[in-house]
């Protein structure tokens, strides 16, 4: 099966569709024109750049080429996950990177080595897109989890200290906020899993079909990816929430609320 190759003219026509957003922004006075222009340029530039990088990596498929790229992707995901929320604390960036890194690499390893049995493990055709998809979802989950945890703890300071005052442990005091945070982190993936194939056709599956893969094979890959994403999102969120908990509660069962500061 062949697929329709895209020329730069095709890309230009597709890019021109951003004008729809621009016209809406002007008509509704959304004042988003500048952001739309920048977002459009970034989309094209970033994707073209990663296209060249991936092309180069695919030509030099060695572990010492693939591994640094995977590390770079993970670091950027970790940094991105830390940038959300009204409050932060010292060490949030480290916690974010650690959570994203541990969860996504563990689950990617299971995907590559146990399920897909890719040999060698760093085969860029598999390792990079799979890690990328897992990272994209895990960073959202970690970010939402940390944001909800810090928000709930700040809002519920009275309740947290009431439970501590009554003799509750630090975990008993934080449990409600932690549960809400883990739930917030896992919900987007759960929602996605509920509607996948009915409301939305995932990008990877669509891409495989467009590239000539049989729908049956594409669906199998997508099922694997969905479960990998779900596992990584859950692990990443729990890891982030536990690390946040460790930063904001002392071993002496004290809530260190002063460590939570408003983001400038």
């Amino acid at each position: 099966m062949n697929y329709q190759s895209l020329s730069y003219l095709d890309l230009a026509i597709a890019s021109a569709l951003i004008l729809v957003n621009g016209v809406l922004s002007v008509l509704l006075r959304l004042q988003l024109e500048r952001q739309l222009l920048l977002a459009g340029i970034r989309t094209v530039v970033q994707l073209l750049a990663i296209g060249y990088v991936l092309g180069w990596v695919f030509q030099h498929a060695q572990w010492y080429v693939v591994l640094p790229l995977m590390c770079g992707m993970t670091l950027i995901a970790g940094f991105s996950a830390s940038g959300r929320g009204e409050r932060h604390y010292r060490g949030l960036l480290v916690d974010s990177v650690v959570s994203v890194w541990l969860s996504s690499w563990l689950v990617t390893a299971i995907g590559l080595l146990v399920i897909l049995r890719v040999r060698p493990w760093y085969e860029p055709q598999y390792a990079i897109p799979i890690l990328g998809m897992i990272l994209g979802n895990t960073l959202t989950a970690v970010s939402l989890g940390m944001e909800r945890m810090t928000r709930e703890l700040a809002a519920q300071r009275g309740q947290v200290e009431m439970i501590l005052s009554l003799g509750g442990t630090r975990w008993e005091a934080a449990r409600s906020a932690a549960a809400q945070a883990v739930r917030a982190g896992m919900l987007p993936t759960l929602n996605q899993m509920t509607v996948v194939g009915i409301v939305s056709l995932p990008g990877m599956m669509t891409g495989q079909i467009l590239a000539g893969q049989s729908p049956d094979e594409a669906v199998r890959y997508q099922i694997v990816i969905m479960f990998l994403i779900a596992a990584s999102s859950a692990l990443g969120t729990v890891c982030a929430v536990l690390l946040t908990f460790g930063r904001l509660f002392s071993p002496a069962h004290q809530f260190l609320a002063h460590r939570l500061v408003a983001r400038r």
Binding site: G158, L164, L166, H253
Partner: protein
């Protein structure tokens, strides 16, 4: 008989400005004492009370309970003996009964069970009928919420209660109910520390009086 609570050079410093919140303080609280602390706003009264509850980590010094240092892992158990009541009562969603049952869901109170008769008797002392247990927390006035918070502590029979201006925001009737409950609870083997701005109230509640000024506790 050792002091219930004893502090040695206990101090707190502001983590941002490095200003002294509580100067190194030697203090002892004995059974039967009803200590009141008065002083201007920002003088360190609440800082001291929270330090006694071990809610904030001290910057120096130590606190002893019955002459023994309190280790990090013993702090939840310590707080079952020494309860802290904040000026603004914190409630969980649900009814008054849900809030009174809350402590019994904590590990520190296992295997104790909620005693509805005891809770009703305590509420009765505050002029609240038994049906008050079923009232939704969202419908409570500030004074009623403080009474619930106090009953939630009193039913646990702690040895010491630390009161952080518990009636400062209450109407006179609720304030009187809170004082009545506290004085009924106070027995010779128990003790309390009551922080207030109100010198008349301090005279009504206390049998020992101290002042706090610029982080320094004085007789």
């Amino acid at each position: 008989m050792p002091a219930l609570i004893e502090t040695r050079h206990l101090s707190r410093v502001d983590s941002v400005g490095h200003t002294t919140l509580l100067a190194p303080t030697d203090f002892a609280l004995h059974a039967g004492e009803r200590l009141t602390i008065v002083g201007p706003s920002g003088s360190g009264k609440s800082v001291f009370l929270r330090a006694l509850a071990l809610l904030d980590p001290p910057d120096s010094g130590e606190l002893r309970w019955l002459a023994e240092p309190v280790g990090a892992q013993q702090i939840p158990r310590y707080r079952t003996h020494v309860s802290y009541l904040a000026q603004r009562p914190a409630m969980v969603d649900g009814t008054v009964a849900d809030n009174l049952k809350l402590p019994f869901t904590l590990k520190a109170f296992q295997p104790r069970r909620f005693d509805a008769d005891l809770a009703s008797r305590l509420l009765d002392q505050a002029g609240k009928p038994a049906s008050f247990l079923d009232k939704a927390v969202a419908d409570l006035s500030g004074g009623e919420a403080q009474i619930v918070a106090l009953v939630r502590v009193l039913q646990l029979a702690p040895h010491v209660i630390l009161f952080d201006e518990p009636t400062a925001a209450l109407d006179p009737q609720s304030a009187a109910a809170v004082e009545h409950l506290v004085l009924n609870w106070a027995e010779p083997e128990r003790a309390l520390v009551w922080v207030t701005h109100d010198r008349d109230q301090a005279r009504r509640i206390g049998n020992r009086h101290m002042t706090m000024d610029q982080g320094v506790l004085q007789p």
